[in-house]
Assembly symmetry: C2
Homo-oligomer: 197 residues x 2
DNA sequence: CATATTGGTTTCGAGTCGAAACTAAGTTTG
DNA sequence: CAAACTTAGTTTCGACTCGAAACCAATATG
């Protein structure tokens, strides 16, 4: 009955709990938790990542489920569908004015405010550990971690902008802070072939 | 479109993500995420907390929803319903043998393993910050935080066991690590009257 | 050109969710 | 003591979420 409770158990317990309880929408928000996550993701991810598949893997669910959540946001005019110029099968999404406006009252604000009240160095240490946990967990799940281009192993800074060896493209300042599905926390072992490993 | 992304934003993003993705059941587990959370909670909470209301407030949902999740676990013989000896309205739940056995393959094990691989001092610091965040968030939501009797302001250790001023009862070793809904992270300001503030 | 494979959608059934209406057992209060 | 709360729990409802499986169209692979 009373299994030994290690610090790791406690941390896992708290992580689940905080993730769940901070999404509770006190004010009758128009969106559900899944819809908020989707809207946030489309606001933060780069164009090649802002797709149904991208969201599905970020949200650790199936493409089918992702497709439905996206559909519901489209119906509310929070996002608009765009065809990919490169691939006839693929689509991506942009936030509408209404979508951007909705983000202003993101219920996640509560959590962010609380985090903001932390001591500066504590926060930095916390973020660093959390980053490590996320990458390790993604790896153990056999999934790819998500991260920003600026932190990515494929990225080399060239002053203000930088170059992504994965997309073979120069990235301007705006894009450096965007989420990318091809993010890799590790230095690539060999050549680009390893990107999809 | 590209709002400034502060460290706090990143942390919030990661917390939501890790909480969600670590509950994904790779192996077709017999239980859903909500059911796992419920089973875990009943395994960890003390008797007065192991109730439908207790779970509802822990899980940040309504009593109605909690009731349904509990019903589904009862139907699978994971938990058994007991009448409260003190209050004719109240019930509480114990894990069955099957419930305890199920916990052995808790999908949360993945996350725990990853946390276990952290450096000892990093882990301690992480837990401490996480605890602070959880309490602060609960307060900002106007909800009560959950914690163990051993960490509670109502608790005074007397060597191996200890005394809970909230329940006015001596707690033996087993109970010290259990979750309690009356947990308070702060020293009680005045007398016992403040407990329900 | 035939055969995968990939990106996306749809449908299905079970589970989750909050809100609201409801019962029953305690508490307050006049 | 009885009427009026309040609290613990359940039920029902409709909308949403979820994974699985079946499906379609565009792209690779052979």
């Amino acid at each position: 009955m009373s299994l030994p409770v290690t610090p790791s158990d406690r941390i896992a317990e708290l992580l689940i709990h905080i993730g769940r309880s901070s999404r509770s929408e006190d004010e009758r928000s128009t969106l559900t938790a899944a819809q908020w996550t989707c809207l946030r993701f489309f606001a933060r991810a780069n164009r090649t990542t802002r797709t149904p598949s991208g969201f599905a893997s970020f949200h650790a669910t199936t493409r089918g489920t992702a497709s439905q959540i996206i559909k519901s946001l489209e119906a509310q005019d929070m996002i608009v569908r765009r065809k990919s110029p490169d691939d006839g099968r693929s689509v991506f999404f942009d936030l509408t004015k209404a979508g951007c406006a909705a983000l202003e009252s993101d219920p996640l604000g509560h959590l962010i405010a609380v985090i903001d009240s932390l001591d500066h160095t504590d926060r930095a240490a916390f973020l660093s550990t959390l980053n490590r946990l996320t990458s390790a967990l993604a790896e153990s799940r056999g999934a790819r971690a998500f991260g920003t281009c600026g932190d990515c192993a494929h990225f080399t800074s060239t002053g203000q902008s930088g170059y992504c060896s994965c997309m073979s493209k120069e990235l301007d300042v705006d894009r450096i802070d965007q989420l990318c599905a091809s993010y890799s926390p590790f230095a690539p072992a060999g050549k680009d072939a390893d990107v999809r490993a």
